[in-house]
């Protein structure tokens, strides 16, 4: 069981969350070309080691989080809100 430290709720079981996807993708603008969108949604790196991914705290505060997790050991290096304003808010809370 992976335990994720939600910045709002505290450390919780991964079963409270749902996995989103690759957090490093910059989605193109809506009017971008088919080629750009194809690159963004179909092509993924298969990282061995730490990767940034999104998790949704579905059965908690419902925040979308950016989690840096090792694909080998499941070790989690960092967790922060995806939304920059929420990031600032969580910093203030500390």
């Amino acid at each position: 069981m992976i335990r994720i430290k939600c910045p709002y709720c505290g450390e919780r079981d991964h079963s409270e969350f749902t996995y989103g996807g690759d957090a490093s993708i910059n989605y193109p603008s809506l009017d971008a070309s088919e080629a750009e969108w194809t690159e963004a949604i179909f092509f993924r790196k298969n990282i061995k080691g730490f990767q940034k991914e999104t998790w949704h705290h579905l059965n908690g505060c419902r925040m979308w989080l950016e989690v840096e997790r090792s694909t080998i050991t499941h070790e989690i290096k960092s967790v922060k809100p995806c939304h920059p304003d929420l990031q600032k808010l969580m910093e203030l809370k500390k």
Binding site: M1, D31, W37, H56, W64, P81, H83
Partner: protein, 989 residues
């Protein structure tokens, strides 16, 4: 073997006699006995039959590694197969029987397999029944499929009751600072050290008593230890097995709450499944004694040496009279002494040249440089042939008559839990065992699980383990070190197999699955040399015991054949569970109606009170149909559908997802999410919208209402409500973080009823304070108003139509749902209206060709669904770049939404029917029927679905509907999906 209870030994309570039943006969034991010790005390030799050859098997160990005494406990629905008699505590009235035998374990017809054993070598079934000689005929899968049924019947050990499990189980969760697995000397030392520092400690022990191997020490007092630990605040969980170790120090435990007593009430669970999150885990899981492979090493009366010590000092049972001990290490000498003191005649065969020991009992005869060669006897041991350890090939040099053979081929640390974490064990050549590998996780191995053999070093390792944990937690700076592994006075000598010089030997490597040394050699000959292949080919290390006793022997034999060292051959990975976990415990309370949560709408009871038959839709229960006078489902929904089309009907539509979208950028947001134009939706209007995924495929559909300048209410389909909500949150929190919008699920806050049919307006008018609000001119199609019901309750009325008739949906605060339904139902009855359920709702929408989840299944584009005109070309939105991507637009023959009629109007069809061309009825055909209904208006069955090329291509052709599941075929024709009122005159009326 003649085993018996003796005086002055053991810790059982002889004041309390317990009667139990074995193989339909009554016997007696004492409080504190296990089933195994009680059977031994009653001198019962044969307790099981082996897996493949049906050889008689006795009790071979004293713990969870047992692979001989697998028995069935209880009867009827309480029947529990494959229970290790060595771990089953005795209780008054316990019923047990042997298994894998007919008619019983003492006389078993299956034993014929033992004499046909040369046909049953590893891989026999696959080689024979896949068409290799002598059954060359019909080679291939079909012959295997035929024989498989017979083989499956012969396979397996105990039999399930096939009745529902009457016991209850429970899931529980907990947290602690340090969790310690195992209460041997090391575990107890660690617990004391950690509890001393005021840490929250849980000590887990699979046995009923604390102490581990110390229980077999005369002077050890388990109760005193228990009280001492309790006094320190240690939380003790006995009869609890740590079966699996997971990420972040999460550990899975099974607590056997009532398995040791007779209990048939349901207020206490039989077992408890614990998930415990610790800050640090200390594993003192001990080690397991191995045996040695030699001919007939499985005859009842063969046991591990340490087991004999436990039976003697814990249970007061002397397991033999004339005992031969075969070994290659020091651990047996203390036990030999004890057995001798208890009155047995003991001979030790030690493969080593010499042994130096302090205080050894000189009355015991030790034959050095001697190994066991073959046991004589079949149902019990008569004698053992011995061989010269230095003379290979081995041959018989002498014979010793005896009734028991105890074996110790060395000790294997129980590294299982660490292996669950993916940590590879490393071979230690000095101690001939796999030691736990290194890990960066917060797990510390102590005691003999770390390869430390003597007690004082085990205690030191326990203290070091606790300090190690505290060091990791930042609580201690005390220096600590772990004692070196090993600790015997004389080195152990390799001895895995004493090879028999005659063919067809029965030298068992893995007792449980009847894997012999010859099977390992066969696997090698046939090329299955990797340990993972060896395991799967011979089944070495599989089944209940998971190779706890035999695995290392198998590895050493393979290493020998490959002329490599054991570490080069490697070891298989241990995976959870350490010992079997019952399915019931995994399920916990999530059975029957608690299998998943139940969602009901606020008018659930109202629906039931008005005769609704309910149906499960996802987690929701919704009204299916409202039968009148014993109507069947089809009679009922046809009447309901007809009533809606003729006058008016009411339906609970609360389960739709509802999302409040608020904020200055709400319009921009909703316009990006939906494929059709929303930017100019006026306040007070609602619009049907379609959402695509990033890849251009349809995600969901629904309506959104513009409540004010910056506020919308979005509805979603019942099934996709959760997914759409998460999706909107993802977009706002990860992609469009500049948009000032908030989304809130209000699905539970609003109840909703659809009122449909030509009389709906008149019926609703009478329910309102101000009836003129819903006049056609005030509330046109796709408009909505805020109104008050007659009783003053505020509500929102939206004029939309799923049925194709004039229709409204009224939304009201959930708490007012029942009073609203009372009001509406009273008025609807005045127009001879009805209540209708999901079946009629479906019939009405199929007649109109409206799509739902059955059609929008994640493979369908907006064009496929016939809704291409709803894809705006004037704006960019989610999926707009991809919906016309090459692979989607290049295929001009994609499946299109169409309607289906049977050619013979009396014919029926079912959803799932495959659409094929005549004479080409095969595979996935050219389309599929997704939803069907009888249409009362048309007077025959209709369906909607998809066909390649759409209506254009096939509307003049007769196609075949093929339903291989129901073994049915019918002629069908392709029509427009809009089968009733295609111009939509009715809903605009």
């Amino acid at each position: 073997m003649s085993s018996k209870r003796i005086d002055n030994f053991g810790k059982i309570n002889r004041d309390k006699i317990i009667s139990f039943n074995w193989e339909k006969k009554n016997y007696f034991g004492y409080e504190g006995d296990t089933l195994a010790s009680a059977l031994l005390a009653n001198n019962i030799k044969i307790v099981g039959r082996s897996f493949k050859y049906h050889r008689p098997r006795g009790i071979m160990s004293c713990g969870v590694e047992e692979s001989g005494a697998l028995v069935t406990i209880g009867s009827l629905e309480k029947r529990d197969p494959n229970v290790r008699a060595t771990s089953q505590e005795l209780y008054q009235g316990l019923e047990a029987s042997g298994q894998n035998a007919f008619p019983n374990v003492n006389f078993d017809f299956g034993e014929i397999n033992n004499y046909l054993s040369r046909f049953f070598a590893a891989g026999f079934y696959y080689k024979t029944f896949m068409g290799v000689p002598p059954f060359e005929w019909g080679s291939g899968t079909s012959i295997w499929m035929f024989f498989e049924k017979i083989i499956r019947k012969a396979a397996g050990m105990g039999k399930l009751s096939r009745l529902a499990d009457p016991d209850s189980y429970e899931h529980a969760h907990d947290f602690c600072d340090i969790l310690i697995v195992g209460s041997g000397p090391a575990g107890i030392a660690a617990a004391k050290e950690a509890a001393d520092k005021k840490l929250d400690v849980i000590l887990v022990e699979q046995d009923s008593l604390l102490g581990g191997d110390q229980i077999a020490e005369k002077e050890f007092d388990t109760n005193k230890t228990l009280q001492e630990l309790k006094g320190l605040g240690v939380r003790i969980m006995n009869r609890t097995t740590a079966f699996g170790l997971y990420d972040n120090c999460v550990i899975g435990l099974i607590e056997r709450v009532t398995d040791h007593i007779y209990y048939d009430k349901k207020d206490i669970p039989r077992q408890r499944f614990w998930t415990i999150r610790a800050k640090h885990i200390i594993v003192g899981s001990g080690s397991l004694e191995r045996h040695i492979a030699f001919n007939n090493n499985d005859i009842p009366g063969v046991m591990t040496v340490n087991a004999a010590k436990h039976y003697l000092n814990r249970y007061g049972v002397l397991t033999g009279k004339d005992i031969v001990i075969a070994t290659n290490n020091d651990s047996v000498y203390n036990t030999a002494d004890l057995l001798s003191q208890a009155g047995a005649k003991v001979v030790i065969l030690d493969s080593r040249k010499e042994v130096k020991l302090d205080n050894f009992n000189n009355n015991i005869q030790v034959k050095f440089e001697t190994v066991p060669y073959s046991i004589n006897g079949s149902r019990k041991i008569k004698s053992i042939d011995i061989a010269d350890a230095n003379h290979q090939p081995y041959s018989k040099i002498d014979s010793i008559s005896c009734d028991q053979v105890l074996i110790s081929g060395g000790w294997s640390p129980a590294v299982h839990l660490l292996s669950h974490r993916g940590v590879k064990a490393k071979w230690n050549a000095e101690n001939l065992c796999f030691l736990p590998g290194d890990t960066k996780e917060k797990i510390t191995m102590i005691g003999s699980a770390r390869g430390i053999w003597n007690k004082s070093d085990c205690i030191k390792s326990g203290i070091a383990g606790a300090l190690d944990a505290m060091h990791h937690m930042g609580l201690s700076k005390t220096n600590y070190f772990f004692p070196k592994e090993g600790g015997w006075s004389n080195p152990i000598q390799p001895l895995y197999e004493v090879k028999y010089n005659k063919s067809r030997s029965k030298s068992f490597v893995d007792y449980q699955h009847d894997v012999t040394a010859d099977d390992v050699r066969l696997a090698h000959r046939e090329g299955f040399i990797s340990v993972e292949h060896l395991k799967r080919y011979t089944t070495l290390g599989m089944a209940n015991d998971q190779g706890k006793m035999g695995n290392i022997i198998g590895l050493s034999l393979m290493a020998d054949l490959l002329d490599k060292d054991i570490p080069e051959v490697g070891t298989t990975v241990f995976r959870p569970p350490y010992t079997p976990v019952s399915i019931g415990a995994l399920a916990g309370r999530n059975v029957g109606k608690h299998f998943r949560p139940l969602r009901v709408t606020p008018m659930h009871q109202w629906n039931l009170d008005h005769g609704a038959i309910m149906i499960d839709v996802g987690l929701y229960q919704r009204p299916w149909y409202f039968p009148k006078n014993n109507e069947t489902l089809s009679e009922s929904y046809i009447r309901e559908t007809t009533t809606v089309r003729k006058s008016v009907g009411v339906c609970d539509v609360t389960s739709l997802g509802k999302i409040a979208i608020q904020g200055p950028d709400a319009t921009e947001f909703i316009n990006r999410v939906y494929s059709n134009a929303f930017a100019k939706l006026p306040i007070g209007k609602t619009r049907y919208g379609i959402m695509l995924r990033d890849d251009g495929i349809v995600m969901d559909d629904g309506t959104s209402w513009r409540l004010s300048e910056n506020e919308y209410l979005m509805t979603t389909s019942t099934a996709q409500a959760g997914k759409v909500m998460s999706w909107l949150e993802e977009l706002l929190q990860t992609r469009w973080t500049d948009l000032k919008v908030n989304v809130t699920s209000v699905s539970e806050q609003w109840a909703a009823a659809a009122i449909s049919g030509p009389k709906s307006r008149e019926a609703i008018k009478n329910c309102l304070e101000n009836p003129s609000l819903i006049e056609n001119k005030n509330l046109p199609f796709m408009g909505f108003v805020s109104a008050n019901l007659k009783d003053g309750t505020p509500c929102r009325i939206v004029r939309i139509s799923f049925s194709g008739e004039l229709g409204y949906e009224i939304y009201i605060g959930s708490d007012y749902a029942n009073s609203m339904m009372d009001l509406i139902w009273k008025e609807v009855q005045n127009y001879n209206g009805c209540l209708y359920g999901l079946e009629a709702l479906g019939a009405l929408r199929v007649e109109k060709g409206h799509v739902t989840g059955a059609e929008l299944d994640g493979r369908v584009t907006i064009e496929d669904a016939g809704l291409g005109k709803m894809a705006s070309t004037k704006k960019s939105y989610i999926g707009s770049a991809m919906r016309t991507r090459g692979s989607l637009s290049a295929n001009k023959d994609r499946e299109q939404l169409v309607g289906f009629f049977p050619v013979d109007k009396k014919e029926t069809f079912d959803a799932g029917t495959i659409v094929c061309e005549k004479n080409k009825i095969k595979g996935s055909g050219i389309g599929r029927i997704t939803s069907v209904t009888h249409s009362p208006e048309l007077g025959h069955w209709i369906g909607i679905g998809f066909v390649q090329g759409g209506k254009e291509k096939w509307h003049n052709t007769t196609l075949i509907g093929s339903d291989p599941v129901r073994n049915k075929q019918m002629e069908i024709e392709v029509v427009s999906p809009h089968m009733i009122d295609p111009e939509g005159k009715r809903m605009h009326a």
